[in-house]
């Protein structure tokens, strides 16, 4: 008898859950055949194409999946796991078990890295050329300060004077706080800035927002001076798609 890693990765957690948490994992389970077919379908859902690619379209709460949700969802339900984690127990006359590495992880397939960074640099350059100013925020805050209003007023003038332009406001945070909450806070900051620009008469449909939380800091030191630089609504001229 031989056991491979791929084999013992299959019957695993359900049993652990059964041991530790009686009463769960009673959901219906799809057959292995379904797993195969949904996996086969996944190949079509390459990143950024097909599957969930449509960003627009209304998604009703509680309704069936709309444009924003992929139909390529594999069967992730737990099925037929015995809780041994593929372990066979000690044996007085142990048979040989083959141990394989690497069956769990694919070799990396390098793709088009770097293009987004190039685009970001070109958007930055366009913003610099336009003289756009960023708005800075206090600790924990997404309120626009007096200084921020001034910066955004000047941005608004440029935007109105350049009616063909599309703008984007990136919300950024300092490294303190959780990655997840900083994404929400970054969005609040970006939307604060956008809302103020709209108040100043800029059309909302010319203003995109994206939050980067604490994931793309302008400054990487662990100091308040650096943190203040990173709590920012970064206003850039949007280029391309």
């Amino acid at each position: 008898m031989r056991a491979t890693l791929s084999q013992w990765s299959i019957p695993m957690l359900a049993g652990l859950l059964l041991v530790t948490v009686p009463g769960c994992s009673k959901k219906s389970v799809q057959s292995g055949g379904d797993t195969q077919s949904s996996q086969a379908g996944m190949g079509k859902g390459a990143p950024g194409s097909g599957g969930a690619g449509d960003l627009s379209g209304p998604i009703g709460s509680g309704g069936a999946a709309g444009g924003g949700v992929s139909s390529n969802f594999p069967d992730t339900s737990l099925a037929g796991r015995d809780g041994s984690g593929g372990l066979r127990g000690l044996d007085k006359n142990p048979g040989e078990e083959r141990v394989n590495g690497g069956t769990m992880m694919a070799k990396l397939d390098p793709s088009q890295g770097g293009r987004q960074m190039d685009e970001i640099r070109s958007e930055q350059a366009a913003a610099d050329a336009a003289g756009l100013r960023d708005v800075f925020f206090g600790y924990d805050s997404f309120a626009i300060s007096e200084e921020g209003r001034l910066a955004l007023s000047r941005d608004a003038e440029w935007i109105k004077a350049n009616p063909g332009s599309q703008l984007k406001i990136e919300g950024h945070c300092d490294e303190r706080g959780t990655s997840a909450y900083n994404l929400v806070l970054g969005e609040k900051r970006a939307k604060s800035a956008r809302n103020y620009l709209v108040e100043l008469g800029v059309s909302a449909n010319r203003l995109g927002v994206v939050s980067y939380g604490k994931e793309r800091p302008f400054c990487k030191d662990h100091s308040e001076a650096c943190y203040a630089q990173n709590r920012r609504g970064h206003v850039v001229v949007k280029s391309g798609k």
């Binding site: 890693l5 990765s9 695993m12 957690l13 652990l16 859950l17 948490v21 009463g23 769960c24 994992s25 996944m42 390459a46 990143p47 950024g48 969930a52 998604i59 709460s61 509680g62 069936a64 999946a65 709309g66 949700v69 992929s70 969802f73 992730t76 339900s77 984690g85 372990l87 127990g89 000690l90 044996d91 007085k92 142990p94 040989e96 078990e97 141990v99 590495g101 769990m104 992880m105 694919a106 397939d109 390098p110 793709s111 890295g113 987004q116 685009e119 490294e175 303190r176 706080g177 959780t178 990655s179 997840a180 909450y181 929400v184 806070l185 995109g208 927002v209 994206v210 994931e215 793309r216």
Partner: protein, 444 residues
């Protein structure tokens, strides 16, 4: 297959940790009190005689022994006995009844482990083998062993597998030595997903799109990761990647934020936060019917869902009370109640696989971001880490005895492991300028 579910076994998982934590809460004194309330005799004393190298690469036996001992120590099921200190010579291994057995028994050592390793018999390829044996003091016999073969690149895995067999033999649980940790590592100005062994070895890069891939979570069957990804500089999605093939695709791409995905313990639902209806709210996607249900309705941000192991409840973070706090709700979105009241910033909840604790990031009165634990009934709360460093992203080991998290305690963000009682802080990443967002895999 035998396994014994004794009180001692149960106690190792639950009550030792619990007792230690209650100790902290009630006393606020730390180490001294912990030592007194968490007597190590409740762990099973185990001695590793040695892994004898018979042939093959010179480092083989030593490597196996080193990995095995580290696994045994981290299991928290066994206490590793220093055999020379009780007169048992390490590496002095026999196959039949051995003088060491009597000595071990007399010194209260419950389990003795030894083995041999070498080039696989008669094999022309570079395969190596490991034979491990286990003497059980209670039954006073060699209860069995294992024989593993494989290439020399899987030597660590052989030791991990043997360690898990030992844990399984004595607790009925599969152990954590073969678990993995997914995480995010900075590559230039990008952040890419990686997976490594639970002890920090064998890191493997999973994504290489040159942009931002954040906060991975495992599918319960360990075949997939779901994560927060940026399709491009304007659009942010929830993606899924299959580990075995590297295939990756987008599963949620609503307008605005699509963040913090978490698959339910049975794998049938994906909870996540999305701001497509204005502000960040929680949604639940049925992975079979693709029906989506909105779970929260509030004018403020709701995010970071974490499933209870029962699948019947979720913890999440919400700033509906001002700063972020931890809330609980039923899996249908009803019965929302606030869990944390101490401090003005509590986020990133992680429900323990044993159900008895929720770990989270808490901001102290000194504005430090540390790890805290709270019981789901809110009755007990304890701060797990202290001192400098911004902590983030706690994630439980599947046995509920450890947490992995990120911290800037050494400067740049790196990953650390800590016991659920606050002991044995151990750094697990040493390469890379910035490692973050660890997610511990389910048990294999």
């Amino acid at each position: 297959m035998t396994f014994r579910m004794t009180f001692r076994t149960w106690c190792l998982g639950g009550c030792v940790v619990l007792a230690g934590l209650i100790g902290i809460i009630e006393s606020r004194a730390t180490d001294v009190f912990l030592e007194a309330t968490r007597p190590d005799f409740q762990k099973i004393p185990l001695g590793v005689i040695g892994i004898q190298n018979t042939s093959g690469p010179e480092w083989l036996g030593g490597r196996l022994e080193e990995v095995l001992k580290a696994d045994i120590r981290r299991s928290l099921v066994f206490s590793l006995v220093d055999l020379p200190s009780i007169g048992i010579k390490v590496r002095d291994v026999g196959t039949g009844p051995h003088p060491a057995f009597k000595q071990a028994k007399e010194n209260g050592v419950s389990v003795l482990v030894w083995g041999k390793a070498g080039a696989k018999d008669g094999s022309k390829d570079a395969d190596v083998s490991m034979d491990g044996f286990v003497y059980d003091g209670e039954s006073d016999e060699i209860v069995g062993g294992k024989r593993y073969v494989g290439s020399s690149s899987v030597v660590r895995l052989m030791a991990h597998r043997f360690a898990d067999e030992l844990v399984f033999r004595y607790t009925g649980e599969p152990g954590i030595a073969r678990t993995k940790i997914a995480y995010v590592s900075e590559q230039g100005s990008a952040r890419e997903l990686f997976v490594m062994d639970y002890d920090g070895y064998e890191p493997r890069q999973l994504t290489s799109d040159g942009f931002l891939n954040l906060m991975p979570r495992w599918s319960p069957d360990r075949r997939f990761l779901v994560f927060t990804a940026y399709r491009n500089r304007n659009t942010q999605d929830i993606d899924m990647i299959e580990l075995a093939t590297g295939k990756r695709w987008t599963i949620v791409s609503l307008p605005g934020l699509n963040i913090t995905p978490a698959l339910s313990p049975d794998g049938n639902f994906l909870a996540f936060a999305s701001s497509h209806e204005g502000n960040s709210e929680l949604y639940k996607l049925d992975t079979r019917t693709k029906a989506m249900q909105r779970m929260t309705t509030h004018a403020s941000g709701d995010l970071s869902p974490s499933w209870a192991p029962s699948g019947r409840e979720l913890a999440f973070a919400s700033d509906r009370s001002g700063g972020p706090q931890i809330f609980l709700m039923s899996a249908d979105g009803t019965n929302v109640r606030r869990l944390t009241f101490e401090g003005d910033y509590n986020a990133a909840p992680a429900w323990s696989p044993r159900g008895n604790w929720i770990a989270y990031v808490c901001r102290t009165p000194k504005k430090e971001y540390k790890l805290c634990l709270i019981t789901p009934d809110g009755q007990k709360r304890v701060q797990l880490t202290a001192g400098p460093g911004v902590e983030d992203s706690p994630s439980w080991s599947p046995d509920g005895r450890h947490l992995v998290f990120s911290s800037t305690i050494d400067g740049k963000s790196q990953l650390y492991m800590i016991n659920a009682d606050g002991k044995d802080l151990e750094r697990v990443t040493f390469t890379g300028a910035h490692n973050s967002a660890p997610a511990w895999s389910p048990a294999s």
